[in-house]
Amino acid sequence: MKKFITILLTNRTAQLVLFLVYVVVTTASLYLAEKSVVAFLLLLLSILILYFLKIKTPLKWVIGLLILGVLLPVSASQGPSYQSYMEVATLVGIYVAMALGLNIVVGLAGLLDLGFVAFFAVGAYTYGIFATGQAANFMPFGTYPLSGESFWVFLLIGCFVAALFGILLGIPVLRVKGDYLAIVTLGFGEIIRIVFNNMDKPVNITNGSMGLASIAPPRIFGIDLMFPNQFYYVVLVMVILVIYAVRTLEHSKIGRSWKAVRENEIAAQAMGVPLVKTKLTAFAIGASFSGMMGVVFAAKQTFVDPTSFTLLESTTILVMVVLGGMGSLPGVILGAAVVTILNLQVLTEISNWMNQLNINGVLSIPDALSPVKMQRFIFGALLIVFALYRSKGLIPAKNRKYDPEQLKQTKGKNSKFLFLSKEKLKAYEGRENL
């Protein structure tokens, strides 16, 4: 037995084979079992296992994309729960992107932001206002609602508008540190929500608390995207782009500046890191991911109102980041997935199952303690357990290890590791080795 395990741990092919068997089994059970949430979750778990395997990274990406893009939707599509799985998967994608955005602000740059949902709201309302007849109230030109084809343009517009708000938020708080920053950002989040809730007089911009209904769904090549499984692919592509962007940023000059600012602001300043630019960039980029996902959210729900953007939402996203491991990319993705799936699927299914047992007479639970009401309670308990036993996060952040020999070999121009400015490149060209 021990020998088997040691073979497993060291031999790449053995791991790969076992993993493929696992994927096949769970895919088959999802295909056959239709309503089994366990199979769905196990298939998602295979992505996590994939992360820990010892195979080459490009191969991991290909397998991962294959599972997420092909196996999951196809095998789930046979059952009646198809759309509900896709709905959960889409929401997981949206939250993953938002958590990655917050990860840049909190995890990489060390700026505690408790009002992050404000940017989400900005993105959602941007699309919402123009995709319903609302904009006609104050825009002097154009016909509204805009058609679903404008969705793709609005993804970028939402990005920019949210980034703009991020910078606007960042400017007053440059001097504020630590926990004071937390309360100021909390204040901003609340301000944005209250303002949106009240912007219906004198000029009706957001329709106040009544919300914007019947938002035009996105349209591509003439087809309206109405079902969760279509949105799933849109969100999947966007999440991949976001992950790529975050990885590149993290290992670039700006990423290192963020980490420097997080560790010690004064030392960073002494090393020539421009404090203002670094902080504002962090806010702007983090906000832009959120704004982009806000547009997707508005298009998916076809209805936005201020009750989706409460302080509790901001706190939930922060929980995802901290629980997953601050500053760690895979950790945050895992944290976002775990929290969203818990809240939206697992707890609901468990309470339904217990309710079913109650009806069938197996258990009898007094009404006041009915499991349907216990979801927040269980969530709170799980948070405490997770935090106490994995206090560095589910997958703690790891610094990338650079091989010093490899660094020395690389010449300036071809360097993958150094994003150098033009002057430095010229300087290195003259040298023979670094």
Binding site: L8, L9, L18, F19, V21, Y22, V25, T26, A28, S29, L32, A33, E34, K35, S36, V38, A39, L42, L45, I49, F52, G79, P80, S81, Y82, Q83, S84, E87, V88, L91, N197, N198, G208, S209, M210, G211, A213, S214, M226, P228, Q301, T302, F303, D305, T307, S308, L344, Q345, T348, E349, S351, N352, N355, I359, D367, S370, V372, K373, Q375, R376
Partner: protein, 399 residues
């Protein structure tokens, strides 16, 4: 070393679980569908906030639905069907409402939904119900947008804001002779919609709106707004919002010495309103679509059954939910009938529900028009002559 070992063990374990789950879940899926003691299972889902700030109202909706299902269980057993309730908690959050709606859609045994409490949750969730033809009957959504979109699945038994507001205004201006009115609303879709409708109608009737203020749900201190009321000296305060805030505003107003009538909508119709406001409740009026439950025999029986079963007093929403479920079950029975005694499809139930034109519930009469609104909207005005629940009827206004 330890970490890698645990990873390997973990992988092997989950592989085993995958195999087991594959085998066992195919069992559960086959036994979940179909029969229990030879009868086909029909499920009715309820979606309302069961946790969070409005949980008392959401709970009332769920319990009303539950009571109705239990009362009709025998009738459906004779037809060969087993009725079950599946309660869902939408937490007042539109995202959760939509996610639950998808879960409801994937459970093929659910043929109808009673819900929601918040219009903001009902609107996106109903888009999902529409895609799967699941009929929804709302015991609480008053926003006009809910039915104005013309969806085939959305129905409601409560009055729209644009009926309840003007009815209240009519009573306030013509019966209570109020010339200066101060309007307070709680900045939710319900409160703002109702208050705006009231304000528009009152102004048309010639009253002067001396103030229009918003408060936040969950707050307890309303002295700031009430200071404005003292200085403006109106004849009536109109409040668009729930009883938890309404009761406190009323109590604090009377404590401040503001001695004028206080009027609100159907969300004030609850025994907790009397609890919170105390003696001050004698100044309150409310408008509601529910007829007086204590005057009819069925109403009294409903209140007693509810109290006995759940040890809580009825509220307006429990009665509304009871009637909503009653209407839904009548539509279901009609659909079963039309289908020759066999299990109907969701679309058939949806059409049968919309076709109902004459259903007498415990507190209200129901008939749906082509948008899903209740044709028999009558607004009853209630007054609290003593500090006890329920109030006494003081007037009624029809369409």
């Amino acid at each position: 070393m330890l970490k890698k070992k645990t990873t390997a063990v973990f992988m092997a374990a989950t592989l085993a679980m995958g195999i087991i789950s594959g085998c066992s879940s195919s069992n559960t899926s086959s036994s979940g569908e179909g029969s229990k003691d030879g009868k086909t299972v029909i499920k009715i889902a309820s979606q309302s906030p069961l946790s969070g700030g409005s949980a008392t109202l959401g709970e009332a909706i769920k319990l009303g639905t539950q009571l109705s299902i239990e009362d009709h269980k025998a009738e459906f057993e004779k037809l060969g069907f087993e009725l079950q309730l599946v309660p869902y908690d939408d937490q007042g959050d539109p995202k959760k409402g939509v996610a639950n709606a998808q879960l409801i859609a994937s459970d093929k045994e659910i043929l109808g939904v009673v819900g929601h409490l918040n219009s903001g949750v009902a609107i996106p969730s109903s888009e999902t119900y529409e895609k799967y033809s699941i009929p929804m009957i709302s015991p609480a959504n008053t926003a006009t947008e809910v039915t104005d979109r013309g969806l085939k699945v959305v129905n409601r038994i409560v009055a729209r804001d644009d009926f309840q507001g003007p009815a209240g205004a009519d009573y306030a201006v013509n019966t209570l002779k109020a010339k200066k009115i101060f309007v307070i609303q709680d900045k939710t879709a319900y409160g703002t919609g109702l208050a705006d409708a009231f304000k528009g109608a009152a102004e048309k009737l010639g009253a002067e709106i001396v103030g229009y203020e918003g408060i936040t749900v969950g707050e307890k201190d309303f002295n700031g707004v009430l200071n404005q009321v003292t200085s403006k000296k109106p004849d009536l305060i109109y409040f668009g919002g729930m009883y938890s805030e309404g009761g406190l505003i009323l109590k604090q107003a009377v404590d401040k010495g503001i001695d004028i009538p206080f009027m609100g909508g159907d969300a004030l119709d609850s025994s907790s309103f009397v609890d919170i406001a105390g003696e001050a409740v004698k100044k309150a009026y409310l408008s509601s679509v529910a007829g007086d439950a204590t005057k009819t025999a069925e109403g009294k029986k409903f209140a007693e059954d509810y109290k006995k079963k759940f040890s809580k007093n009825i509220e307006s929403y429990s009665a509304y939910a009871y009637d909503s479920t009653g209407v839904l079950l009548k539509g279901l029975a009609d659909a079963i009938d039309k289908n020759g005694g066999k299990l109907p499809s969701r679309a058939q139930v949806r059409d049968a529900v919309r076709a109902i034109t004459d259903y007498q519930g415990v507190v209200t009469k129901v008939g749906f028009d082509d948008k899903g609104d209740n044709k028999y909207g009558k607004i009853f005005i209630y007054k609290f002559n003593e500090a006890s629940y329920p109030a006494t009827m003081d007037g009624e206004i029809s369409k």
